[in-house]
Amino acid sequence: MNLPGAVSPTDPDLVSTGHRAVAVSPGAEPDGSRRPRRKVLVTTVSSDAHTWNLVFLQKVIEELGCDVVNLGPCVPDDLLVSACLEHRPDLVVVSSVNGHGHQDGLRLIRRVSERSELSHLPFVIGGKLGMDGGEDEDRPAQLLRAGFRGVFEDNPASLSLFRSFLAQLPSGSEL
């Protein structure tokens, strides 16, 4: 399901609202039927020691009826990979606010894509991803090309976009 007002430059699954926030639909829920509780892994990049963003996201995600595993600050790539294998989440949410999220995020998603066991696991990233403080038009596209299924840069619209993204997320058994 595409979000309203979406443009799809190349990939039919790519959803964009200008360059402010970009998300790929996680897949439509066919009807309103009950589904098992989904599990979301919340994490950040290896260089980022901030945690208020991670605590906030945990609350947002739990309020939407998901279970959360929160890995906390400064997560090395290896730890993230092993946590994904251990917890088998339905979604991984990477949040970073220290300005290194773009670079570290690209490295991280490449590491993840080396593991075939994780090829069906959707990753999204968001926060203050660059040093310039503003929004770089290329950044979301680059992150999406590298394998992220959604990019939510820090702006007023991102949270509601993230919430709708999450609301549509199927559980692992349906992926």
Binding site: A49, T51, W52, L54, V55, F56, V60, N70, G72
Partner: protein
């Protein structure tokens, strides 16, 4: 190098003169700029202590990265004291350290042994931190490792006493996570880290507390901290240090200024000896020397216009324990932790393992994470969930409450919104002085001002 009286003696002399000591959080990679900053701090018209803040590579022990950045001429966000040669640091300090101008090194490391070794080499006798407060908030180093490393670091630092120096160590425990930790636990952590320092040989200690959401509650916390230190530390040199608000800062310059002025006034009203200032730009970038100087001067001005409490210069050596909620909470936590083990380091480890210490919203793997907090209608920071802490949520009879994501976000920005709203009101009443009721700023909620 001559023997230099320590930071503790300097602060005691200032207390006797009725002066608040003010201190910046300055740190530059370039030794010349660092020296310039220290000189500027020394020459401010205020009673000042100099600060050398270290860079974050040194903080996490990534000395290779600090070295590479220095070699490549890239910027670092502080002074890499382990990487710069001892000669460089000696030159930086040459003719600068004196009995009238102590310098404190600030770092933030859970494995600080190499930093303490560098301090000892350069005979720098004042620093800060703690096995809990420099471990849990910032990374993934196991608490046990931090306790071990801090034990050895303290013992190394205490040996400076053999050279006729007076090493001084400040707890960072009263500043945990910067915001949203209820004052009772902040006070308890500060006292417990001070007891840890004393157990490892330190005899000159300061206990920190960071300004939170309510001036009345903060005053109670500082009083409780002073009482517990008096009751538990015994006959050693100690004082209390207040940090200007460390959470999300007001966006307006006048809001930020008012918040910092309130910190200075709070320090003076409570007989607090030392204040760590902030700058208006702190949340956005590393402040310049001039911005630090402006903040120091403003804090000194705000302090001088605040009446000092009677008897502040010669405090009662054995005052009665305060009958406040903060004191009872802090005392209950400290007692419960000290009951776990005779050694304060082991007691801290057992306490976190059992949830007797549990920091709200702290995601470190060694923190149980079963507590949470909220800001009540009066602006006081309170427990929402107390987990296994030896305290009850809020007043008697109240049950745990769940903090939603939007309540959490509002609590995080409570102080910044409150001071920005005041700044707006002042501006508005100045502009529209004929109107009886100036318009409230957009999004403003009920008046959060407490007393």
């Amino acid at each position: 190098m001559n023997t230099v009286a320590g930071l503790g003696e300097f602060v005691a002399r200032a207390r006797d003169r009725g002066e608040l000591v003010v201190q910046p959080r300055m740190g530059f990679a370039d030794p010349e700029r660092m020296r310039e900053g220290l000189l500027a701090t020394r020459d401010v018209d205020a009673t000042t202590i100099g600060t050398i803040t270290l860079d974050s590579y040194t903080r996490v022990g990534d000395l290779r990265a600090a070295e590479d950045a220095l070699a490549a001429g890239e910027g670092l966000n502080g002074y890499p004291i382990v990487t710069h040669s001892p000669q460089t640091t000696d030159q930086l300090l040459s003719g600068l350290l004196s009995e009238d101008f102590p310098v404190q090194v600030r770092h933030g490391s859970a494995r600080p042994l190499d930093i303490f070794a560098a301090l000892a080499r350069s005979r720098l006798t004042a620093t800060e931190g703690g096995p809990v407060s420099y471990c849990l908030p910032y990374g993934r180093v196991p608490l046990r490792e931090s306790v071990q490393n801090w034990s050895r670091s303290c013992e190394l630092f205490a040996r400076l006493g053999d050279l006729g120096l007076r090493p001084h160590l400040e707890t960072f425990g009263g500043c945990m996570l910067g915001q949203l930790c209820p004052p009772g636990e902040l006070v308890a952590l500060s006292v417990l880290e001070a007891l840890f320092f004393r157990a490892h040989g330190l005899r000159s200690i300061s206990l920190s507390y960071a300004q939170q959401t309510h001036p009345g509650q903060d005053a109670e916390a500082l009083e409780a901290l002073r009482s517990l230190a008096g009751e538990l530390l015994g006959p050693i040199d100690w004082h209390v240090v207040l940090y200007a608000y460390m959470g999300v800062f007001p966006l307006t310059e006048s809001g930020a200024g008012a918040l910092m002025d309130d910190a200075a006034a709070l320090a003076v009203r409570t007989g607090t000896e030392r204040l760590i200032v902030k700058t208006v730009v702190e949340s956005l970038r590393i402040p310049t020397i001039a911005e630090n100087v402006r903040s120091l001067r403003a804090a000194a001005v705000a302090a001088r216009r605040t009446p000092r409490p009677i008897g502040a210069r010669r405090p009662d050596p054995a005052p009665p324990s305060p009958q406040t909620e903060v004191y009872y909470e802090a005392r209950a936590i400290v007692d419960a932790v000290l009951d776990l083990d005779e050694d304060p380091g082991n007691a801290l480890l057992k306490a976190f393992d059992r949830g007797i210490l549990d920091i709200p919203y702290c995601l470190h793997p060694d923190n149980r994470g079963r507590t949470s907090s909220y800001i009540d209608d009066s602006g006081r920071l309170r427990w929402a969930e107390t987990g296994d802490l030896p305290v009850r949520p809020c007043a008697a009879g109240q049950k745990n409450k769940t903090v939603t994501s939007s309540e959490f976000q509002e609590a995080l920005t409570y102080v910044s919104r409150k001071y920005d709203a005041q700044a707006y009101d002042t501006q508005c009443s100045a502009v529209c002085d004929t109107e009886q009721h100036p318009l409230p700023p957009p999004g403003r909620r009920t008046d959060p001002r407490g007393t």
